[in-house]
């Protein structure tokens, strides 16, 4: 059987590895981004000089050959689900590839779509100017690198996890950063107020110009089509040579809208991660569960769910019916020097049913929160 996996991120690669562990099927992994799998979560460290591309690749290059996983570098432009063929974009030119020429098409018996996400843009005027970009792909880091020489200030729009990483990246190169956060506290849709304020303090302590309750109205550009500044929502003007768009991501599936596969925000899948089309699975950031589990969301764009889904997909590809069961929610992040971990649901607001204990260290940089259900005494 010929299994084709589109996307060499954590989800696609985990699927490939587990298929190999369990079977002898032919495996092809396709990506337009880089020849070899790397950790997207470590992109910031490339720019900051903590690691090189080689260091953020979890497997040595010999690994793929040894495990008989064929790699193709190229951009798939259309998929013919009826004929089971992927067509590549002939115009696509990969930079720095050692994988050889891209074929014009590839057929499959079973297909996994592990397409990842794309940066959100909310129709802001000027959002497509030069030096306006998100942070998702390796190419995004390359273009940050290229423009960095000429930046005297960067404005970052969005107060989430990628925004703070981008701020830290520029900060490491001594480029002043202004961060526009629409909410009144950093990431306060997810963090309870105490934690949210703590991270806010951390951001400011690191010399970032944090503007809370401030949105983006417009991006200004010059004759060469480059960004020169932003207008914020209260109406302030901030001059800058770079605008980072980090107001979230969405499944990277717009190019599939006409292909016949059933989609909503992501590719709709059942509990076995099978899509509306037989022999086609979706996994990772781009998959959307048809039925939402209690305490979880139907699209979860995080590393470990991508890994778990990849493993589940591999089982189903190899004929073992295994349902996706991620267990309780957990996640982690690092906000400059503050490490954050969460296990289970942590509501932002207090509620009738739940009790919370919160401890914060004297330095205001450590805290623990415990949440538990109240039990009424008789």
């Amino acid at each position: 059987m010929k299994i084709v996996i589109l996307g060499n991120g954590i989800s696609g690669v985990t699927a490939a590895r587990f298929v190999r562990k369990m079977s002898n099927h032919e495996i092809i992994v396709i990506s337009k981004e880089t020849d070899y799998f790397f950790s997207r979560t470590a992109l910031m460290y490339l720019y900051m000089g903590h690691m090189r591309l080689k260091d953020v690749q979890p497997y040595e290059t010999a690994f793929w050959q040894k495990n008989r996983i064929q790699l193709i570098r190229g951009e798939v432009s259309t998929i013919d689900f009826h004929e089971k063929i992927l067509h590549f974009d002939p115009k696509f030119r990969a930079q720095e590839t050692i994988l050889g020429a891209t074929p014009s098409s590839v057929s499959y018996d079973k297909l996994v779509l592990a397409l990842g996400s794309a940066t959100n843009k909310f129709g802001w005027p000027g959002q497509d100017l030069d030096r306006v970009q998100g942070l998702y792909s390796y190419q995004d880091v390359e273009s940050m690198e290229k423009t960095s020489q000429d930046i005297s200030r960067a404005v970052i729009v969005g107060g989430g996890l990628i925004g703070i990483e981008m701020a830290e990246m520029f900060h490491s190169r001594h480029i002043p950063v202004t961060m526009l956060v629409r909410e009144s506290n950093y990431w306060d849709m997810v963090l309870p107020p105490e934690e949210s304020k703590m991270v806010g303090r951390q951001i400011v302590e690191h010399g970032i110009d944090l503007r809370l309750a401030t949105g983006l109205k417009e991006i200004k550009g010059n004759d060469q089509g480059q960004a020169t500044g932003v207008i914020t929502n209260p109406g302030d003007q901030i001059d800058c040579e770079f605008v980072g768009l980090t107001a979230g991501v969405h499944p990277n599936i717009r190019w599939l809208k006409e292909s016949g596969i059933e989609t909503d925000r992501g590719i709709l899948v059942d509990e076995y991660l099978q899509s509306s089309i037989k022999d086609v699975y979706a996994s990772g950031d781009c998959a959307q569960m048809r039925t939402t589990r209690a305490g979880r969301r139907n699209i979860e764009a995080v590393w470990y769910t991508g890994r778990m889904m990849g493993e589940v997909v591999a089982h189903n590809l190899c004929g073992n019916q295994v349902a996706y069961d991620p267990g309780i929610w957990f996640n982690s992040a690092k906000f400059f020097d503050i490490e954050y971990q969460v296990y289970g649901q942590v509501p932002v607001e207090s509620s009738e049913k739940l009790e919370t204990i919160y401890w914060e260290g004297d330095d205001g940089e450590k805290s623990i929160r415990l949440i538990f259900e109240k039990i009424q005494k008789e």
């Binding site: 950790s39 979560t41 470590a42 903590h50 690749q57 490491s172 302590e205 010399g207 400059f336 020097d337």
Partner: protein, 464 residues
Amino acid sequence: MTDQVYPSMSIADPHPPFVDGMQKLSTALGLTGLLMLILAWLNQFSGDSTLVWISLLLITSGTILYAWRQYMPLPEGIKNNGVWFGRLTSRGWLAWATGLVITFFYVCLYWYPGLVGLGAEGQSNTGLVAFFDPISMAIKDKPASQWFVYGVLYTLAILIFGVKFILKYRHNQYQILRTLSVMFFQLCFAFAIPELLDRLNQPSMDFKNMWPLNYYFFFDWNLDKLLSGGNLGLFMLVWGIAMILIISPILTYFYGKRWYCSWVCGCGGLAETAGDPFRHLSDKSLKAWKIERWLIHSVLVFAVIMTIMVIYTYLTGQSQILFLNSYNIREWYGFLIGAAFSGVVGVGFYPLMGSRVWCRFGCPMAAVLGLQQRFFSRFRITTNGGQCISCGNCSTYCEMGIDVRSYAQRGQNIVRASCVGCGICAAVCPRGVLRLENGTVDIKERTTAVRNIHVPVGEVKILS
């Protein structure tokens, strides 16, 4: 305040914004001290006995001031920005130049001590060695030798770069403690005690330097020295053997080899302090791991055979054993392993191959402790694999070239012979995945493939 940008004096910074007065001053101080050493080496400085003190003082104050300026204004936390961009830290020209200078210095020390100024038989010292005579006279009432110069510089390096290391990792108690420990053992055990014993005309010994790292412990001249050294000499002999057979196995059982490699040993001490900017240069490939296992165990076998032959010769007076001559063998060991490998390659190649080349590929002591750590010790690094984002910081900054990530992302305990328990992987991990442990909870599953983390009940305290 909002526009404030924190300066960095890191040589690694690709866009240094500016260099402030304090940074210029400290660089100038340190370089002046270094220049004085070079001038002395070139015989431009003999005579004045205070100059050597001034030189060392300048180097010390320059380095510490520089480090202070580099780290203290910044919030506590991991400081690896720009490591892979720097000329010194990413094998740029500065790294090659530094490597070359250190290598040359070592070659002189071992084989051409005359070049650094050691006086030939009966003659007084010149050059660099003479420059250190005043210190040697003050400490032990004898003129310096090239090894005295080396000992002073080595100890100074561990002390001043130890201070730098502590400033850099000041948010991490484990790093502070173990660095204070190596500084203490270097200053007292490796330097002060042997020199003072020498002054008192007693047999001198570095009490923490064990066979087989201390490969000449069983050489005839050393045994003779100890046996003729009265009670103290006898104690040293017993101590040395007890270290090998009793103390070290017990400590390694409880704490892993780290008690020695990262808390006590002088080679490890220099690697952790002066070598810290180079830890990421170690090779992480599977191939390097393979070479490591072959090489280090070969050296161990070499050391054991050499020692058995030497003892045999000592006891029987016969130097010819089969087709081998024990004097030749031990000379070869001294040349190849003792000098070329541990000294020249071990330190000279810091800026090119990372700081633990010797500890990883060559040290027979590390090989012994490693075997014990692998098969008979409580020490392991536990991983909270679910939270691992496979970023690779742990593997990159492991000076022993262990691919920590490959274990962490599978949630597997790390039990590797080569791990020196420096704890840097756990420090740089942005997700708190790694933990160095000696506990006994599920110790039986220490080496099984996939485990969960456990917090022992005893570690949870309810305060009120």
